[in-house]
């Protein structure tokens, strides 16, 4: 597994821990169940914390804790399961989450751009993914019809600007 964060291949500074494991020092990612069971202790820890949501675990239940959570990892159990695209958008657009939203699991290169658009800023990818493959697939498309979590200007907005400019020219 390789980790890409904001387009750069980086070392993972978080450790994903099992529900029975003892918590190591430093940044950890725990399951939703563990977060809910040990919420008070985990909130009080003096280290970054991430929560991993499985498909079927929407972000609503941790919305009130997002002030303390540094990272939300969203699972793609299989590439065909696209629930986490909605979860990512809800985290960014509904709950205003500013921390890391990480895609984990079965992440295909052809999905990079969709994930970025939905608000993922970190992706765990297969070992055969190179910076070239990343660059090619993260930018397959340069225009976007619909608004999403990435704040990209939409085709509609481009059209409106073109029309406004044409009108300015006409009146000048």
């Amino acid at each position: 597994m390789k980790l890409i964060r904001n387009g750069a291949f980086v070392e993972d500074d978080f450790i994903t821990v099992g529900d029975e494991d003892q918590l190591p020092d430093g940044a950890v990612i725990v399951s939703l169940e563990r977060w809910q069971a040990e919420r008070e202790t985990l909130r009080a820890r003096n280290a970054p914390i991430g929560v991993r949501l499985q498909s079927g675990q929407e972000p609503g239940p941790i919305a009130d804790d997002l002030d303390r959570i540094d990272l939300v990892a969203l699972e793609f159990p299989v590439y065909r399961n696209g629930r986490a695209y909605s979860y990512a958008r809800l985290l960014r657009e509904r709950h205003g989450f500013k921390g890391e939203v990480r895609a984990v699991g079965n992440v295909l290169r052809d999905q990079f751009q969709f994930m970025i658009r939905c608000g993922f800023d970190a992706l765990e990818v297969a070992d055969n993914i190179t910076p070239e493959i990343w660059a090619e697939n993260a930018g397959s498309f340069s225009l976007f019809y619909q608004p999403a979590a990435d704040g990209q200007e939409t085709v509609l907005s481009l059209r409106q600007r073109l029309a406004a400019r044409a009108q300015e020219k006409a009146t000048a």
């Binding site: 590439y79 909605s86 509904r94 939905c118 090619e136 019809y145 619909q146 608004p147 085709v155 409106q160």
Partner: protein, 552 residues
Amino acid sequence: MYRYDEFDQQLVNERVAQFRGQVGRRLSGELTEDEFKPLRLMNGVYLQLHAYMLRIAVPYGTLSSRQLRMLAHIGRKYDRGYGHFTTRQNLQFNWPALKDVPAILDDLASVEMHCIQTSGNCIRNVTSDQYAGAAKNEIEDPRIVSEIIRQWSTFHPEFSFLPRKFKIAVSGTPDDRAAIRVHDIGIQIVQNGKGEVGYEIYVGGGLGRTPMIGKKIAGFVPKEDLLAYLEAVMRVYNMYGRRDNIYKARIKILVHEIGVEEMTRQVEAEFAELRKAGALHLPLEEVARIETYFRPPSHENLPDDSTELNKAVLADRGFANWVKSNVAQHKVPGYAIVNISLKPIGGVPGDCTSDQMDAVADIAEKYSFDELRVTHEQNLTLAHVRKKDLPAVYELLKAHDLATPNIGLITDQIACPGLDYCALANARSIPLAQQISERFADIERQHEIGELKINTSGCINACGHHHVGHIGILGVDKKGVEYYQVTLGGAADEKTAIGDIVGRAFTEDEVVDAIETIVTTYIGVRQNGERFIDTYRRVGIDPFKESLYETH
């Protein structure tokens, strides 16, 4: 019709470049067939029994003559000289070589066409009424909103990996030719008491293994809010639709399991948030911009009655039959809507040769403002023909075997590709449709029988829409033998109904006789020339059961 601007064109070009790279990786062996599968399925490339099949999107069924000529060219150059129009108003080529697909996509892009989202678990090509812009009681041209939805749904990052495929249909008239209540979302354009135009929304319709009729979840969504509303429906479905079982993954199952009230509540809650956020607010100026592409063509001021037409009707019985069945009323005096049957006697429903495509393109250019439509019943429509030109149009169509006067009649059948092409099928559909067509070939008899829709599917996935055929035929496999189960009373119009199973299935040798018996029974009990479906609604299934099974 809609024309691409620089942005639309650039997106399609970028998609072609991306797919060319993916095909290159497959052909070089870098990708296995398994790895290539999710990629080709995002672009309409299926692997069928004998070859790859390429499905081309025809947005809401509208084509220009130029586009149809390009399809003819592709059929000639890369396929076997014909294509197949589908129940989703698209066109399929059954025999392209994978290595040629990028070149085909280039050809398509040169006429503003593509294969985007013609397969895969995403929002598919939006379908609509083939009489759009010509129908008498139309509230608003449904192609305007269809185009807006096409753009919004294209490469939607959140909804490209839905639990299952997703189909949206739009109708702009109270009489529904787009079968909106058997779609995942059906949109009925309506007008409220204040004269404002908005949208009535149905969700959870569909055929397949578990046929369901769509439920109304909104009575009036204002124009500006349509995309926010649709995104709300899609988000609820994407998050809560089942992913554990492919046969229970369509939105109809979600709606059925949680109930229409709960579905409505969840959609309304999500809609309220999206509406508040505002990003999907649809500016009315943009609607107006799209609307300019669908302005009515410049119709002439003509008297409604045409002496040329009346004379020809009296002089030629064949022409008179064609006018009776294939020509529909137009909203403008002196004009008519012409339906072109792709169901010649004994032919393959929906098939069209490249020569025929060229002929239709020429006729459309000369007689119908350079455009035409594909219908979900697998025929073509010329929406704006002067009544006085009907005899000339008829002669031209006849010369290309395109004037079969059977629209809406017993030989105007819908059939899926079936076991002749499809890897999923249990039984053959096309040969059966051909046999039925031969049996009822006598055109005078067809007109005597009147409106009767026979739909045939080769398996329970129901691509031939058998559930909503007035007579539905479903191919099933019993220990390696093909059997056909018959249903009666289905309909896909504004009175949508799922057909009732009439009894035990028939063998291939029996089924055409069974259809004959059903027709004879109907003729025997019909009153005042009522249609088959009206007779069925009046008398029910019993008379048909009796005549089919009592003597056996």
